[in-house]
Symmetry: D2
Subunit: 359 residues, 4 copies
């Protein structure tokens, strides 16, 4: 090593240590200011003060760094102090494993989300008593513990079938009860949270409402288990924030569901973001579901992707099953019939055993 | 031309004409069936019947077309009859220029959307009386007729400032009244439509709620002018359908707002889809706004894109303006200050004249 | 069932059968024309003739279908005949399982793509003899049969390290030979296909060159095995067409690699499109690789996604491994070190057994 | 203001000033090291040294910052020094206005890109002498100075028409010469740069080859004007880097062309990213073209979007024009016929005057 460089690096080491000392001292003083601000109910973030500090620092900047670089470095320093302060205010996110390292389990009837590999299945929309009872009987006989079915349907067109409403809720509840299943159904309006809570075991918040913050808060206040689907083009971060809206109301029973995101690809209905589902397992403590029906829209892809999701460690897969998809009132092409579901089950069965190889 | 080909083409011409005759006859009979179905309240679409027809057609298929091709061709024929029937049921979309060829004008106070180039401006969030009155005074002096400001704010984090609520509505109304402006503000919950309608001139439905169908219907029932933003990653078709939800409730006063869509590009907040805005002008009769603030997130892009939007024929541009963006409680980096707005106005002024060159 | 409807449906059935007869006759005549065209070297598609037919059909259209619908239906009929003709010209896609139902196996040294689950591993870029030999020794000891390493590097910036070139090829070849591995490396220029073919066992065509048709053709003419990465935002269809470019030159040894597509999501480098990989297995007969390094860019996601890919039935996973990623000349953050690779291997080992549960 | 806070802020100010002094001193020493490294041909970036510094800094970290925060802050400081050093090595980007503030003008025949609003027009593919001469005559009569036409065509399918090759080049050259126009045509293979340069005035690098770095370099070495299209899903930053590949070879005659990016939207062929085009005008000194044909794929959108682009300040618009699009060998639906082009021209004419209102 060149001796001139070695010598100069000694100088750098000395300065580094002085910088470390000063940064730490600065952080302690900033902390003391923060405590006073908390005491007085003031915000920690004070943009006018930051502006003022940057003004004299750039005015006195001797170079060789440009003013822009000096501003950037000091903004990083300001931000670090601020974050430190906010953490002390216990603003840790409730969804995060840093706040709660152990897995959250959500128990509904006989099912434990986060405790055993599960399947959620049932028709897209609740259409009739016969349809729901036939489906529930079929699924229960195959060990499926959670029955889905929409009573309030989010439809692109106002003229499409909008669901049976409360009558649908009643049918779903009755079918689930008769066959000992839990019942999950979507709620779309803050004003319906109460009535849906009377019939359902789990409130579903659909992809189109993931950014409906009023609904998230109302679901949070309900203290019902909530199945929160990721939005059509929500980032993973926004999905976690949506969960935080529910958690922040004191409701810890949130289940996250990845259902594919919107991309340019045309051969599938959406693009399953399995990385997003795995990040949800790694970074949050909440149970995670993968909805292979909406993620693909193609029946032949559902078993391979369900296998993939289970092998990657998610807690449950979600599929749509209908006694006669051809006459279904919505999503005709992506609901499995009973035969298709049996074939699906055969393809994924080895990954549904509680003690999976991968941990 | 090869004579053998010419002769065979004569054969083809004869068959084409027979096909035309048969297809037309078939359509008339299908129409008669449809009328009976309408009379009896039955659905026109009967998948079991279609299945049955395809079964005998493929069973009797003499070739050379494969069964798959025969199915495809007949499905097209079935669909054409169905569409014909649905059109007769007057299922034309209310948003479409085919239903209403002439431009819809939405009048609020002194502003006519669809009648003159307009600017909507104001702060992201309503923060204080001083902020709103200062801004309204400044904007009114420059001829801006529509004041914006959020009282209920859709924020990614539940811990971010959520708006002043009803107090914000009151401040916005008062500022608009004092300076003779119209006031537009966002509504996020079906339960708030009534109270927001008491204070605002225009209800805004934000990008995150474009698929909140319960809210769209409630806004439709309010008979207030509605500014409908395109969803974060909504297709143009879905945006028009969202408008249809409002229109179908008997409320014709819908203004469409393009605000950029979510793409992979990182140097802008969103990607302005100007084609979408132009399609909205061409295919619907509704006024169209381009929100250059959310479309770009960069102040230096706002004037060029506003120029672009106006030159392309949209009815209004939407920008966020704040007396002191650095201390704003949201969107600090994308709100213009007064000086920036004056510069912006200078850059677009020639395109704000009512009689634009392009028609 | 309403008797009036039943009767009319009898009429429809009669017409359907006549249409079937006419369509079949028409297809036979069109076929005869097509044969003459083939004989004379003429194109089957004749837009002027189609225009002419549509002209008289709409002129003579008795309704109730609109002219637009008549045009649409006949265009479908024209297209069906054309496709029929093209199929007879043996224009079936070479990539398709319809052309070749059984799996293609690509053998290179001891590895059989399409015959056993494989791992492709090695550094992003070839940097030195020590780096390559250390890595090859380490990987070979763990049963990895295919060594990767870039000698020509596609870099966003012209000032970034561009690879060692031919010297890199030589080092990769020597390391692979010493440890009995196959060697795959990228080629970026038609003029380099020859030299890369002298050193490598498999030519890689990178994501950025998937639409470089000149390179695809040259790789096709080389008769070397080709690892074809899906483009940054290529559709599945375009990816298959790119494979067809290679196959159409008489080179059947194509391996498809999914490596994530570009989306709005920011927490991963790309979004793995596992549906795309499964469609490649279902619709083509070619071996399919999933590159979890570029698909995620995050080391903690690589094992779960490799598990997912293998459980879904792909033939191989691709990862980047470097003896000391911190000092690597490219992709510092996404290459695993040896310890990380051992942990990775432990997590996926149960899915690397030749006789996997899922078949 | 609370006096306790004021006092503590005085402390902060003192520390800020000491930090400023130390950071500046550190930067000067780092600069001295950098000069020695440059002298010795060593890299400025030394990850092992950085690792070593972070090791003792975290070992000696007294709090309250976590080790992670200390690492982050020092990495920022390291990076700032490195950037400083690299800038001194004259690694400023050649595309940037910081390097060259004034607009670059590219002159070809009678046209000056960057000096007057231009139209580039012509058929998608060169098909025949008659087609090219008719088109050139028509366009020249309307003042169009730049004729386009593809001789080497990038086609998704290997079985689609691939262009006339050198014969096409000859026809394009002859037509341009006869009517006094400049001729731009695409080059797809490094081996063709020479022959295309013999016939064309401007080499086009298409969207599918924007990341074909070998081709970019070869085009850079040719010293021909280059029209560089943005890739299908390239970021603005990647587009500028691609330009830098050409510029770095000593070829300053680069014209940037935005042609729409790939998004989920289905009603347009691509999504025009006008913000990207405006950023290209603001951040680079190169002329910028907007290709409204590929950006929209819909003829009725081309005039409004061309108006938008010109009003936003771009230098040229690019459209495809064909004497008889219905029989064109590619892109049938998006090429304008002569009548459509005349209508287009009427709609944009007021924005083609050299002295535009907006500057």
């Amino acid at each position: 090593m060149e001796p001139r460089i070695l010598e100069l690096r000694g100088e750098i080491d000395r300065i580094n240590r002085e910088l470390l000392k000063l940064l730490s001292e600065r952080a302690r003083i900033a902390g003391a200011i923060g405590d006073i601000q908390t005491e007085l109910g003031l915000s920690h973030y004070d943009p006018v003060r930051e502006e003022e500090m940057l003004a004299y620092l750039t005015a006195e900047n001797p170079g060789p760094f440009s003013d822009a670089v000096i501003k950037k470095l000091f903004k990083e320093i300001f931000k670090a102090s601020l974050v430190l302060q906010e953490r002390e205010d216990k603003r840790k996110f409730l969804y995060s494993r840093e706040t709660k390292p152990e897995d959250t389990q959500v128990r509904v009837k006989n099912a434990v989300f986060g405790g055993e590999p599960l399947i959620i299945a049932g028709p897209c929309a609740i259409e009739s008593e016969e349809q729901m009872f036939t489906t529930a009987e079929f699924l229960a006989a195959r060990g499926v513990k959670v029955l889905r079915g929409g009573a309030f349907k989010p439809r692109t067109s106002p003229y499409a079938f909008q669901g049976l409403g409360v009558e649908g809720l009643r049918l779903g509840r009755a079918a689930a009860d008769k066959y000992g299943m839990a019942f999950v159904t979507e709620v779309m309006d803050t004003r319906d949270v109460e009535v849906v809570s009377q019939y359902a075991d789990i409130l579903q918040i659909g992809a189109r409402n993931m950014h409906n913050f009023a609904l998230l808060k109302e679901a949070g206040r309900s203290h019902m288990p909530v199945l929160l689907k990721r939005g059509l083009s929500a980032t993973v971060e926004e999905w976690f924030y949506a969960a935080e809206y529910i958690l922040s109301q004191g409701n810890g029973q949130v289940i996250l569901a990845e259902r594919g995101i919107r991309t340019y690809e045309k051969w599938t209905r959406n693009t399953l973001d399995l990385s997003g589902a795995v990040l949800a397992k790694q970074l949050t403590h909440l149970p995670v579901v993968v909805d292979v029906t909406h993620a693909t829209g193609r029946i032949e892809l559902m078993a391979p992707l369900a296998r993939a999701a289970l092998a990657a460690g998610v807690d449950a897969v979600h599929v749509e099953v209908h006694p006669n998809p051809k006459v279904a009132m919505s999503d005709n092409n992506q609901q499995m019939d009973f035969e298709q579901f049996d074939a699906f089950l055969n393809q994924v069965r080895d990954l549904l055993e509680p003690a999976r190889a991968s941990g």
